[in-house]
């Protein structure tokens, strides 16, 4: 479950949307808060469906939230 090459800007997007809480994002996406914590820390790569759910919650495209990070 560790060391995913998929980076994300979830924390920044939450901050830009008026300090949206991790719990609020988790509820909007239908996941636990611990999953949002793991995503933000880069310890978990989401499924395509969850990636789309998160992007839709922020009202942006998937590629604006997630990116492939080469070493």
């Amino acid at each position: 479950m560790t060391g995913t090459p998929i980076a994300n800007d979830i924390r920044r997007l939450r901050t830009e949307r008026g300090e949206m809480t991790q719990q609020a994002l988790a509820d909007a996406c239908g996941v636990t808060r611990q999953t949002i914590i793991a995503l933000e820390a880069g310890r978990y790569a989401p499924s395509l469906e969850l990636a789309f759910r998160i992007a839709r919650t922020f009202g942006v495209g998937v590629e604006e939230v997630f990116r492939w990070e080469t070493q």
């Binding site: 479950m1 988790a26 509820d27 996941v31 636990t32 808060r33 999953t35 793991a38 499924s47 469906e49």
Partner: protein
Amino acid sequence: MTGHPGRTIGRYGVMLVAGAALWLLMAGPRTVLGFDPGPLGMVLLVASAWGALYLVQFSARDEGEHAISPGEWRARIGFAFMLGAVAYFVAKLDLFAGPGAVDSADARAVARNLVMLGIAWAVLGQAMASRWKGRIQEDERDREIARQAGHWGHGVLVIGLIGLAVTLGFSPAHRLQWASHFLLANLLVLVLMLGWLCEYAATAVYYWRDRR
């Protein structure tokens, strides 16, 4: 989970009760007290599991402590519960050996206690589910962890069964005097329990690694 003195005392209290419960379960009929404290130990073990659940509830409410997910709590308490059951079973395994074991009252008492532990665990599982009622208890990450942990449990189950099969299949008959059908049935149950124990342990470790 740190800071509040009441909760710290409660935590040590639960550990103390759980330790006493395990001792009473292990002591069994050979107790110095002159009676079988097994049922009392089982009641105390269930009570300590309830106590742990109560502490989880309060720590989550008071501290805003949500770093630990429902799935991880279930794995932790499940591991402790199954570890107690396996230790109890292993400590009493000699009661299931021998020609008269099927009719032994002591062996029946151990089997009854194990069944009661299983029922108590099922009830506790329902109580834990209701504690997080209204919240999302499981998502794709939990299912992925469960899938990976399931491989460990399955591996232990397969190794145990192969070990038993090889022992029975390749040992000369005179060295299998101990292998009564009753003992073999109980060994199969033990292998199953070890598989569950390993699965709970792996689940807890995967969650812990995810939080580091």
